[in-house]
Symmetry: C2
Subunit: 343 residues, 2 copies
């Protein structure tokens, strides 16, 4: 835990500089010496000190991920993104530091950002959902007081680097599919409406209905909070309000699960009496009864793209700033029995 480059040098009978050269491979060192150095390292169990290295190189090779705490990590979406991030980061030689935020309130955001910056992370991946003022605080951040930041799952913004998923298209697909199945009265259980994802999915629903000349009445809309319970009550409300309801689009799989629960409790069969589509395509969905049709988001991919973009940004920063880029990923509909009209 504490043999240093000096120790290795002494043991190999060379200077510290040579050991460093052997280590980084930037300057050439003679075959024989190289071998001796390697041996010395082996014998002494040398571990380079990344803090010292980072200090002189002005480069930590650490990427900071900022994520909202608690429930989020257990949520399928976030963990997929993280996995995608991890893979690419690893491949590019970065380590990952995790920062949690509760609020996110303005002050907490800046506190976190300061911590990130104190660690001298090379870049930041912002995986906090966007609500209200959020976007504006974050737009003001950019100054070179902080390392480059890539925002995941925010809606596109020319001033920021964003990797996001086309939520409106995803919802549109889902609802269009229901329409093709012959449904006419399609309810939606949305996420919290201060999330832009929720808004976008709602817009997709509306859009699909209008394209087909169908009713997008507000009695068909009920707001949930992403959790299964709100799917239960959402479904209750929809059924009470619209006895003619023949399909429901739930804005995530958890709420779809809740909707299934309520349908079952009320003695309704899916897909016989009612069709249902979820969002996220969680692995469990395939084991619900009936197996759940859902929208696959490509979250793993989004994590990877984000890291790639960030990496470019980090590398280029030395010369001139790379302009912000927007990456928009298209989702895909996975059809299972919950939305297949059995005639």
């Amino acid at each position: 835990m504490k043999t240093t480059v000096q120790d290795v040098a002494r043991r190999a009978g060379v200077s510290a500089g040579t050991v460093s050269n052997a280590l980084t491979g930037k300057r050439h060192v003679a075959e024989a010496t190289h071998r001796r150095i390697l041996d010395a390292m082996e014998e002494l169990g040398y571990q380079p000190n990344l803090m010292a290295r980072g200090l002189v190189n002005q480069r930590s090779h650490v990427l900071s991920i900022v994520i909202k705490e608690f429930s989020d990590l257990g949520y399928y979406g976030y963990s997929s993104v993280l996995t995608g991030i991890q893979r690419k980061a690893n491949q590019l030689g970065y380590s990952i530091m995790l920062h949690f935020v509760d609020g996110p309130s303005e002050e907490e955001i800046f506190a976190t950002l300061n911590q990130v910056s104190a660690h001298r992370a090379d870049g930041v991946l912002w995986v906090i959902h966007e609500i209200e003022g959020n976007r504006n605080w974050v737009r003001d951040i950019h100054p070179e007081k902080y390392p480059p930041i890539v925002f995941l799952h925010m809606h596109p913004d020319p001033a920021l680097s964003v990797v996001s998923i086309d939520n409106q298209a995803g919802a549109n697909m889902a609802v269009s599919h229901l329409i093709e199945q012959g449904c006419r009265t399609i309810g939606i259980i949305t996420g919290p409406l201060d999330w832009w994802e929720s808004q976008a999915r709602l817009a997709g629903w509306k859009n699909a209905l209008q394209q087909a000349g169908l009713d997008a009445d507000s009695s068909l809309v009920v707001e949930g909070d992403w959790l299964a319970d709100s799917g239960k009550t959402g479904m209750e409300t929809l059924l009470d309000r619209r006895p003619d309801l023949d399909a429901v689009f739930a804005s995530n799989d958890r709420m779809a699960l809740g909707a299934l629960h309520t349908a079952r409790r009320r003695g309704l069969s899916i897909p016989e009496d009612l069709l249902l589509v979820g969002y996220d395509n969680t692995p469990e969905g395939a084991s619900y009864w009936p197996p759940l049709t859902s929208v696959r988001q490509g979250l793993l991919q989004s994590g990877q793209i984000a890291v790639e973009d960030l990496h470019q940004r980090i590398e280029s920063e030395i010369n001139e700033q790379t302009a912000p880029r927007q990456h928009i990923i298209q989702p895909e509909l996975i059809i299972r029995q919950s939305s297949m009209r059995s005639r």
Copy 2:
């Protein structure tokens, strides 16, 4: 991103040492100077460089979490533990670095450990499940080549610091509860049997049956892989083998979901025809149909305890090594309708 303690010092008209004193609060600095320094920091937007600080203090205030990659993060259990870890770590002033492992093969384990040690993490939280040789490699690690390590969810071992959950007791509770409900032929869907958790839960099942003088025949045991699909097929097998089956204990909620699926497909009602208990108490379980009885593990708590123990270990290391400690957490049964005999 690059004003230094020197800059602040210059601006405040003092020396670097004084700024440092003001920063750490270890030596007293006069009221007036202190104020001037604070102002200077504010004006210059000073951010301490944690790498430099870590270098001189020989303390990074970073905790490394080693976790098996991919699916694991999305798994309820792991994310809960991580949350628990994060909370306590934050409270004690640590940042968190995440390291992923695929295998885990011996070489990969050591590669990861070397990385951890290169970052000079103050301590390690080992959240890899234990299989086969695993334990032995890990026992040999301890030498002071690496920082102190606490192992989560390994079975107790006097040579190692371990925080684990009493899986056998948990399973025993679940099965005893089924027996109390009047069940006599209770099947089990286990996890992969090279996981000690699976073994322990199996032992708990067996134990409870034997206590009650009931049959723990091998025809009642089927091995799963934690995923819902294996719950589906596991349930098929059990039903085929034992037409007299009147309850099933699934070793996690996902597999319980699969079991529900199969029961439903075969036209069996739960709890009317068959009782079912899961393990993990995932939030979704309450929305399954019927709501799932399950074993709550106290994972959040386990994460917190692990960090506390690790912290002590880190602090004390300066003097003499603290002896390894075993923490065993008792789980709790959460009863819902899937296991309530309706008579």
